[in-house]
């Protein structure tokens, strides 16, 4: 896909990317504290990876989501023989989600989203003023 053509393109793609990032953080938070019966099946946090999307013709650069990757942190082993999912050693495996880090991620994402909205509304205002020039 070619790069952005206008400031609206830049803002739209930037905001979409932030939304993907926010959704990833929300998924991680929702899965915090879930346990499974094996290490391999434990939930691993997902993370959106951003990349620059440059339009060489006009020098404007937007963001594209290169992919949503799964982190490979070690699952948290918990000894709990009474748990229905416990394996033969009496262990369950918890998701390695750091709630604080996810909250910070979400906060940062929402601030950057807000910044984009602010910049877009200013740009829109100026464009409208230019258009009304008689």
């Amino acid at each position: 896909m070619a790069g952005p053509n206008s400031i609206f393109d830049v803002a739209q793609r930037g905001m979409s990317a932030q939304l993907v990032r926010m959704n990833a953080a929300a998924s991680n938070l929702a899965n915090a504290g879930t346990v499974t019966g094996s290490e391999a099946k434990a939930y691993r946090p997902i993370r959106a990876v951003f990349a620059e999307d440059l339009n060489r013709a006009n020098g404007m650069a937007s963001v594209k989501v290169q992919g949503v990757m799964r982190e490979n942190g070690a699952a948290i082993r918990e000894h709990n023989p009474d748990h229905p999912l416990a394996d033969q050693n009496g262990d369950v495996w918890g998701a390695p989600v750091d709630e604080n880090a996810e909250m910070v991620e979400m906060l940062e994402s929402s601030r950057q989203y807000q910044n984009m909205v602010e910049a877009l509304s200013t740009a829109k205002q100026l464009m409208l003023e230019t258009m009304r020039l008689k």
């Binding site: 793609r13 963001v63 950057q112 910044n115 984009m116 910049a119 740009a123």
Partner: protein
């Protein structure tokens, strides 16, 4: 034509608009690893656009005056976007755009009045 009608303001408005796009790009890429924030040196670009005698080659002037921003505090992921600098540059640019627009509006008003013979 527009150059003689509006003088320096035609090129200035065009450059302000291009700079707005560039700073918006920086704001959009605030979380992109390895992204280097760019900005147009407005003063140099305007001087370049005025040096060309043709009908304001503002595109080339803007492209020739793009500089990378020096970060106050470099971050680990190689991203050099700093929100405070970008917001400041964006609002400064928006005010400049408004001012230029006001000059153009004044010129248009003058001409309209002259044509109407008021």
């Amino acid at each position: 034509m527009s150059q003689s009608l509006f003088g320096i303001h035609a090129a200035a408005l065009e450059l302000r608009s291009q700079r707005m796009g560039m700073i918006a790009s920086n704001i959009a890429n605030a979380a992109t690893p390895g992204y280097k924030a760019k900005d147009i040196d407005f003063h140099a670009a305007l001087a370049k656009s005025q040096a060309g005698n043709a009908d304001g080659d503002t595109d080339a002037a803007a492209k020739g005056s793009v500089l990378y921003r020096t970060p106050v505090m470099p971050s680990m992921d190689g991203n050099t976007v700093e929100m405070q600098s970008e917001q400041l540059a964006f609002s400064e640019n928006a005010v400049g755009y408004s001012a230029t627009l006001e000059f153009i509006r004044g010129r248009v008003d003058t001409l309209t009045r002259a044509m109407r013979g008021e």
